[in-house]
Amino acid sequence: MIRLRLERRDSSPVWLSLVLPVAAVLATLLLCSGLVAMAGANVWTAYSTLFLSALSSRVHLVETFVKAAPLIFTGLAVAVAFRAKFWNIGAEGQLLAGAMAAAFVGAREGLPAWTLVPLMILAGAAAGGLWACVPAILRTRYRVDDVVSSLLLNSVIFYAMTALLDGPWKDPLSGYPDSPDILMEAEFPILLQGTRLHLGVLLAVVAAPAIWWVMRRTTLGFMIRAVGENPVASRYAGIQPGAVILKAALLSGALAGLAGVGEVGGLHMQVMAGISPGYGYTGIVIAMLARLNPLGIIPAALFFAVTVTGAESMSRATGVPVFLAEVIQGTALLAMLVALLFNTYRIRIASHG
């Protein structure tokens, strides 16, 4: 008889952390192929359309990055917070805070034109960061569960925003419950003519290595990890866990806020109720897929963006419903969680007579 058993690894080799995500994606495609076949399509054609269409032309490729940009930011936001074991489920709300701040600043008349874009970025980051401090302070001061408070604060800010958009902040020109458009000078520059590749996308792609550097190479990153893994030992070593969690919350919220800034400054030029289709929540999945590694956030976000952009082409070409994208995303998360198991444990084959 052959038995499989799990044994804990003493350390996990580097190659494994590269192989596991790939294996998880392959497993996902294998698992989902049954659904594709059930929809009556050729699995190979469906998958190749799904993935290749998103990469087939310059326009599609750029669109994939444009879709990935907010996911990169929210993924980074969650990764930073989770490292400190600050369970920030509020990236969605922090994104809205950032979007509102950017739309507000971007519509201000009378400021020098060149200051508008930097001010929007700063204001959006600040607004997201401050909004993330609310659950952080509630937790460090009053021991309020951060999962619950950060999640519920999403609703608070969402309904506050819709109230504003339906009232004092309603665009007087359109009459829709949207904010007035930002000034022309406040619109993010387009980096590639004829596409929607805007400054926010570049910021997102640069943010990932920057956050990697912060987490790996700075005392702040060190302390975030230390406090996350053992707050008691950190306290005895003279580190204030509360202060570190607050800093992590500020950084996390600022990143989520930047996701909102990019959507306002680069795509919508205004805030409306539907500005985020749940980017903040998807960021949690992406952060988990990337195993909280900032550099892994980019491929994880791109994977999501590819499945979303490719799903429509696939649907048109093969008749497979677009919802398959969501099935793939969900399955990928599960596959990754299983793959993580192999990062900590190895399988041993034990034969018994």
Partner: protein, 505 residues
């Protein structure tokens, strides 16, 4: 050979973890009625061997025989089914449940019903038989450590254990509780059960076992009858593979006061309150703090670590009053700290060893400048300390949690001593360490004493205090019951003071 069929035989067990050969060709046998002492330094392979027997690992080679028949033990359920029971150092009990409920956890009765009455009868029977008495209706959370251990043993017997493994069973017991445990083990042996007793305490191994297997570097180096001519000294040498000479404490004249507590009181809900604790530790002096656990030693340690606010009194380091102590302030004044619970308040077991070793100093040069880490300096420091203290670790990047207890303690000492502290606060510094590692720690303390540093040694091990300390202060219910020169103290007097029977204060 016409030996009787052994109750348990493990033959030719080999187990490798990566580059480490944890067990190589290990043989042990337990006859019915045997109490086998399994001795060895940390990392000698005892725990691996027992984990194989209890089904946590499968051996790369070798076989396990019970009653002369080869058995396959691929998980703990199989081990239990074959009559193997294990009492770990850390108990697996549900504190909110009663003794009886804990016994019933995971057991199915007829038709899925738990038969509480039968369990009650069985519990009473086991209690009578082995002198393991426990009230079935008490909450486990209310039991003492000794009683919880008794419950773990009863659980194993309840599940039908005929071979009982005990891993460091006396580490947290008072001498009286340990005696009770030994009576129970002897009763089990008399019934024809087999007991495997893992311990570092050589006098206990001498006292209780019928024979002894000594392991070193994953191999069995000796297998002997426990006869009077086998001295503790001989066992210690077999374990660490070299001659051991007793630590020498030269005469010294203590210098100026480096640590002074003057009528220090604390008021912290849920903790023992210190009441007007006064003590001095001088340069070149080791002050031992004796006492039964829970009489304020932890609070005293936390005061000196800067982790507990003073409700009254004053604290001085080298003549500098510290009105509002904090961890950082005490560090800056030169207090080094080797905590009692290394894995909780000392190190970060889930992160690389190097992170733990620079944790208290990460915010300052050479480890960081203006908030940016200097990985080169960190690595150089950690590698240097690993070499200097002989820490057995594959490198600075291994998870701290993979190190053995002795090596973790060395890492902590390395981290604190690198900054040449004026005052070293050490709580239970050799708990769970083997002879060789404990000796290493003791020598370090004596070196500090030689270099005119002050050591505050909090220990529940009186032998350790009598070996190292110049004076001993006994704590009882948050007070200092008395301070004696070690030359004037004897175990009986100190023991009486520990029990609150007055002193010379």
């Amino acid at each position: 050979m016409n030996e009787p069929t052994p109750l348990l035989a493990m033959r030719g067990i080999c187990k490798r973890f990566g580059a480490v050969q944890a067990n190589s060709a290990v043989d042990i046998t337990v006859q019915p009625g045997d109490i086998l002492g399994l001795l060895g330094e940390n990392g000698a392979g005892k725990t691996t061997l027992m984990n194989i027997l209890f089904g946590a690992y499968s051996p790369d080679e070798g076989r396990i025989e019970i009653d002369g028949r080869k058995v396959n033990i691929h998980n703990s359920a199989a081990a239990i089914a074959h009559g193997v029971g294990m009492v770990h150092q850390h108990f697996h009990l549900v504190p909110r449940h009663t003794v009886l409920e804990n016994l019933l956890v995971g057991r199915k009765g007829k038709r899925g019903l738990l038969d509480a009455d039968a369990a009650r009868r069985r519990l009473a029977e086991i209690g009578r038989h082995f002198q393991l008495i426990l009230d079935p209706d008490r909450l486990v959370g209310d039991l003492t450590i000794g009683e919880q251990q008794r419950l773990e043993i009863i659980k194993a017997l309840f599940a039908g254990a005929r071979i009982l493994i005990l891993d460091e069973p006396t580490a947290a017991l008072t001498p009286q509780e340990a005696d009770g445990l030994f009576d129970a083990l002897r009763a089990m042996a008399a019934e024809g059960m087999g007991v495997i007793f893992i311990s570092h305490k050589l006098q206990e191994v001498r006292a209780i076992t019928s024979h002894v297997t000594v392991m070193r570097h994953g191999r069995v180096v000796a297998n002997l009858e426990n006869a009077p001519e086998v001295s503790r000294h001989r066992l210690a040498e077999l374990m660490c593979g070299r001659e051991l000479t007793p630590a020498v404490k030269p005469e010294r004249q203590p210098g100026r006061v480096l640590l002074r507590l003057d009528r220090v009181s604390t008021r912290e809900p849920g903790r023992t309150n210190l009441a007007e604790v006064s003590l001095d530790v001088r340069a070149g002096e080791i002050l031992g703090i004796a006492g039964v656990s829970g009489n304020g030693q932890r609070e005293l340690a936390d005061i000196v670590a800067g982790m507990l606010p003073l409700a009254g009194g004053t604290l001085e380091i080298d003549g500098t009053p510290v009105p509002g102590p904090s961890a950082r302030r005490m560090q800056a004044l030169g207090v080094g700290r080797v905590p009692e619970d290394r894995m909780v308040t000392g190190l970060i077991t889930s992160l690389p060893l190097s992170d733990s070793m620079v944790l208290p100093r990460i915010g300052a040069p050479p480890f960081s400048r203006r908030g940016v880490l200097d990985h080169g300096a960190i690595r150089a420091f950690v590698e240097d300390q690993i070499g200097r203290f002989g820490i057995k670790a594959a490198g600075p990047d291994v998870r701290a949690g993979t190190l053995s207890g002795g090596n973790l303690q060395k890492a902590l000492l390395a981290r604190e001593l690198a900054w040449d502290p004026l005052v070293l606060l050490a709580a239970q510094p050799t708990r769970g360490l083997d002879v060789g590692a404990a000796r290493f720690v003791h020598d370090l303390f004596l070196q500090l004493r030689d270099r005119d540093r002050a050591v505050l040694l909090i220990s529940e091990d009186l032998e350790e205090i009598f070996t190292l300390a110049d004076r001993v202060a006994v704590m009882y219910e948050g007070r200092i019951a008395g301070i004696l020169d070690i030359g004037d103290a004897d175990v009986r007097t100190v023991g009486l003071m520990m029990a609150g029977a007055g002193g010379t204060a």
